[in-house]
């Protein structure tokens, strides 16, 4: 063990984000995207039932997060070529919302690692989930 690199992954793939949302287990909605059309077809709704200006491709509705929450969502940013999470400032202080967003990021990063391993012909030797939710994957190269 002699060199390590830390990378902040970005969610760039709708399939991986969908898998991550499925892993987290909260019901979510996904916008219907027509070929060449805008991906962000869902409006977010605030805790008072007001429609927010933000539009997203994936949304977890507030009813699945807690009565004081707003919807949270993930929007595709065409210029940055990646997804951004939309969370209201208020909700960033709510443990359940914070946890949901972090879990999605965690699971998306995991799926990104596995996709990369498979694409480049490497082999997963073991996977361990530690009590704090940290995931360790041992990958062998040839």
């Amino acid at each position: 063990m002699s060199e390590y690199t830390t990378v902040q992954t970005e969610i760039t793939d709708a399939d991986l984000l969908r898998l991550a949302l499925q892993d987290v287990g909260l019901p979510f909605e996904e916008a219907t995207v027509e070929a060449g059309g805008d991906r962000n077809g869902l409006s977010l709704v605030g805790y008072l039932g007001d429609t927010r200006p933000q539009k997203v491709q994936f949304a977890i509705r507030r009813r699945n997060l807690g009565r004081l929450s707003n919807d949270i969502g993930w929007a595709w940013d065409d210029s940055a070529q990646r997804y951004f999470a939309y969370v209201s400032d208020y909700d960033t202080h709510l443990p359940n919302v914070k946890q949901a967003v972090e879990q999605v990021a965690q699971r998306a990063a995991y799926h990104q690692v596995i996709k990369t391993v498979n694409e480049y012909g490497m082999l997963v030797e073991s996977e361990t989930v530690l009590p704090g939710g940290e995931i360790q994957v041992v990958v062998r190269t040839f």
């Binding site: 690199t5 990378v7 990063a109 704090g132 940290e134």
Partner: protein
């Protein structure tokens, strides 16, 4: 060679295992680049420096 990959809060740390001395140089960065995203840090472990020091010492003795 193998990688130990640790995923925490969406942040991935790639550690190279099973390569002696400077052979590991750049290997974790290579994997990080395949992964995409923003590289935050690349560092060598204490073991790396110990191996390099041992190599230098052996070279000096061998002169």
């Amino acid at each position: 060679m193998q990688y130990l990959i640790t995923i925490k809060n969406g942040k991935v740390t790639i550690t190279v295992q099973g390569m002696a001395g400077t052979g590991c140089q750049g290997k974790s960065v290579e994997f990080a680049q395949l992964l995409g995203g923003k590289i935050e840090a690349t560092e060598h472990t204490e073991e790396y420096y110990a191996q390099v020091a041992a190599t230098v010492q052996a070279t000096i003795k061998g002169q």
